[in-house]
Amino acid sequence: MMGYENQESHLYASKEEMESLVLDDDSPNGTAHPFSDPLSSSSSLPFAEIPTDQSQTPNSSFNSILEPPSYAEAIFRSFDADHSSPQLNGAHDHSIASPSSPPSSDDFLTITVSDPQKEQELSNSLVPGGTAYVTYLITTRTNLPEFDGTEFSVRRRFRDVVTLSDRLAESYRGFFIPLRPDKSVVESQVMQKQEFLEQRRAALEKYLRRLAAHPVIRRSEELRMFLEANGKLPLVRTTDVASRMLDGAVQLPKQIFGETAGGMVDANEVAQPAKGGRDLLRIFRELKQSVSNDWGGVKPPVVEEDKELVEKKQKLHDFEQQLSNVSQQAEALVKAQQDIGETMGQMGLAFVKLTKFETERAVYDSQRTRAADMKNVATASVKASRLYRELNAQTVKHLDKLHEYLGVMLAVNNAFSDRSSALLTVQTLLSELSSLNSRIEKLEAAASKIFGGDRSRIRKIEELKETHRVTEDAKSSAVKEYERIKENNKNELERFEKERHDDFLGMLRGFIVNQAGYAEKMANVWKTVAEETSGYAKHGS
């Protein structure tokens, strides 16, 4: 979705040159650094590797002595813990546990994805050697009763995740099911293998944790099997479209001419939306129906609280649009924060070099004084630069909630689609029933004119009545399904509203506290320098 993970790793990469810059005063170790005494002879040591030419970012190799304190970790961890959001980038932050906030405080279901490994497919294809694919180690810790164990691991490949996602979509229609990571086949060839694997690993982990956070889906059989079942994933793979098309081609003539099964519709089949291949006929029918719906045709007797739904959908749509806008501006804000931090740091380094230069070549005391002043400013600038970087890393974490909810909106849209397609099925069946009824009426009217009846017509009438019965059953089943999905929608919407409310307030609070906290830290850094240089303010205007 958004390249925040990339952003963060870039922030961390440029950390080296800043972190390795030796600062005095408030580093927790309290070691005496050469830099703190610019007049000492060893002062040349840390700067030996400074390149004389200046490019955009000085890739200087300052001696790294110690990691400076990470203010964020020390001070703002408490705010992270308040967050109910799970750690999004587990690789970077081992210290913070990854809670997926369970509905009841005692249950937990913690999932970790790790250790990508290449494996060979022992194929039955003609190609010798088989194809290679990647598996990931899925480790689960839980105390939920559905599971056989409390801690276990399985190996799964991405295809298994797709299967899981498809199965969940079938079983949990109407629910706001978190979206699985993209397949992105092309990217995987373009990207560096390592980078791709890490991205995918992180995305899978995020996905599974979101599933585990959903109060209903976490208890699903599909998820349990995925997490626990050893060996091959027992979930039936969705057959590929091609074989379904073949299936459909065989079935189609029978369906069209209403032979054998008499166009009989399996009640179970009705509970699923029409898919490709086998359901060609059904698709045609429903398409016809939806067209007739759109053209203001038959009004279905099934009552839809249309107005309320339309209103809700519109509101959610508006929200989604504004959210997308905010998310864009948030990205720009993060970039601007990063830029100012970088420039502050670069300026600081430039002053560091100036200080060293002035100190080494000092002939007059005024130069030494100036070098001392400059050193304070340089140090403060570098400190401020680090603070900006930390501020930004935290900002990214907080504002990531925005992106998360953009994903949730997609799930919401899917859930509403489920409802629409279920309604369409109902409407299709209703109109079929009504056309069957009129055919039966016509035949009965024609047959009654002939005394004694028309054998072939009577037989036809019997057949149609049988078809009618079956279709009636299918309709009942479809209506039940539609009602079920509506109920799911309603419950999920309630849950969504509450979570959205809490999550966003939490996000706002986290964002504000973060900004205020770091602004305060920066103010302190500069206050010191202002005090140290206050003597100059007395001169001049």
């Binding site: 509101k315 504004q322 905010v326 100012i340 430039a350």
Partner: protein, 413 residues
């Protein structure tokens, strides 16, 4: 040690003054006004002089001057006071100004932008005050003309200087001769660098040249920092607007919380813009000024080199003349008398040239010490303003965000 003051009044105390009122000379550059139209449009400034010095007419005088008048003053002082670091003019440096210059050339709008005009006015004010505070420069006639002459006289003077025939005929011939001798030297392979090479002076020269590089770098980043403040302000403002719109989607506590956050973000954006301006005027500009000052020193170094070269060449010419003279004495040639006259003239010239060179050396030594002092206090003030501004900004931001928290708590409950 003279305490040098930056802007405002460049008053001075003469310790030997026994009169009731100490002499003072106070100058300010104010009230920029756009004059003319189109390509020929320019900015004029009011230069106000308050003084009790007898050489000046009256206690207070106000004249109108434009940028090229300041250039005239600078160039005249540079010509006359070799060895002294003439205070630099704004916009003469190209360091970190590349973008500004392009804009300057391409967009008249920028030329007359309020910020640019203010920056220039401030820099010109500093320029004149430094001259008025300098114990030697403030005595110059050119300064007096600049501060006192009516506009027409000033225009004429300026035109003479910047005219093509600025150089007197004698100077032109000298330049021609220099070029000739240089060419012949090269042709005859006699070219050898005529440079001072006392270790102390070498050290100073190297210091100046390297200092310029370091300063240019720092100034470049300082300029970028100003830009970054503006950019952060803009993006925060856009973010605030978007969040406010998001707030309209909900009419409950969440919607209100969003609206409040958005509004606060816009307020903070304004603080950032203010600080960007403060940073530009009080930190980046002094750094630029520092760079210009170093470049002014480089110009003086060049003058000193020229004077030194002249001295050496003259010394050589005198030596050859001596040889000729002795030849003539021995052969009792008729050329002797004239040769003796020429010799005397050359010796006088040689002494004068030496005197000039020694003056430059002496002045430079004084100037460099003064320069270092001046720069320490200039930069000290700039650092102070920088730190003060950053602290003020950060405190403002912290307070603004914090003020939201109680409301947020109310929304959460």
């Amino acid at each position: 040690m003279n305490t040098m003051q930056r802007s405002g009044s460049g008053s001075l105390q003469s310790p030997r003054s026994s009169s009731s009122q100490a002499p003072f000379l106070s100058v300010s550059v104010t009230d920029p006004a756009k004059m003319g139209n189109g390509v020929q449009a320019y900015i004029s400034y009011k230069v106000i002089t308050k003084t009790n010095l007898p050489e000046y007419q009256g206690n207070e005088k106000i004249v109108i001057r434009r940028y090229s008048d300041f250039v005239w003053l600078h160039d005249r002082l540079f010509e006359k006071y070799k060895g002294i670091f003439i205070p630099p003019l704004p916009e003469k440096s190209t360091v970190g100004h590349f973008e500004i210059i392009i804009i300057y050339l391409l967009a008249e709008k920028f030329r007359f932008s309020a910020e640019f005009i203010e920056m220039r006015r401030q820099a010109l004010d500093v320029f004149v005050n430094r001259i008025a505070s300098h114990h030697e420069l403030r005595q110059s006639d050119d300064l007096r003309i600049f501060l006192q002459a009516d506009e027409q006289t000033m225009d004429r003077a300026r035109f003479q200087e910047t005219g093509i025939f600025k150089k007197k005929p004698a100077d032109l011939i000298q330049i021609f001769k220099d070029v000739q001798s240089k060419v012949s030297d090269v042709v005859l392979g006699k070219e050898k660098p005529v440079e001072e090479s006392t270790p102390e002076y070498e050290k100073m020269k190297n210091y100046i040249f390297e200092l310029e590089d370091h300063l240019a770098e720092a100034q470049k980043h300082a300029y970028r920092l100003v830009k970054r403040h503006r950019e952060l302000g803009e993006s925060l403002s856009e973010f605030g607007k978007a969040v406010k719109l998001l707030g309209t989607c909900d009419d409950d506590a969440l919607g209100k919380a969003f609206s409040e956050l958005g509004a606060k973000a816009e307020i903070i954006s304004i603080k950032l813009q203010k600080e960007a301006h403060h940073l530009l005027m009080n930190f980046e500009e002094p750094l630029k000024d520092y760079v210009r000052a170093v470049q002014s020193i480089k110009a003086t170094i060049a003058e000193r080199a020229t004077a030194f070269k002249k001295q050496c060449e003259l010394a050589e010419t005198i030596k050859f003349k001596e040889i000729d003279l002795n030849k003539y004495r021995l052969t009792r040639s008729e050329k002797l008398a004239e040769a003796e006259r020429e010799y005397e003239m050359l010796k006088a010239e040689g002494e004068e040239t030496s005197r000039r060179f020694d003056t430059i050396v002496r002045l430079m030594n004084e100037e460099i010490a003064r320069f270092q002092e001046q720069k320490t206090s200039d930069m000290g003030l700039a650092f102070h303003e920088f730190a003060k501004g950053q602290a003020r900004l950060s405190n403002g931001i912290a307070d603004a965000w914090r003020s939201l928290l109680p409301k947020l708590e109310a929304h959460s409950s």
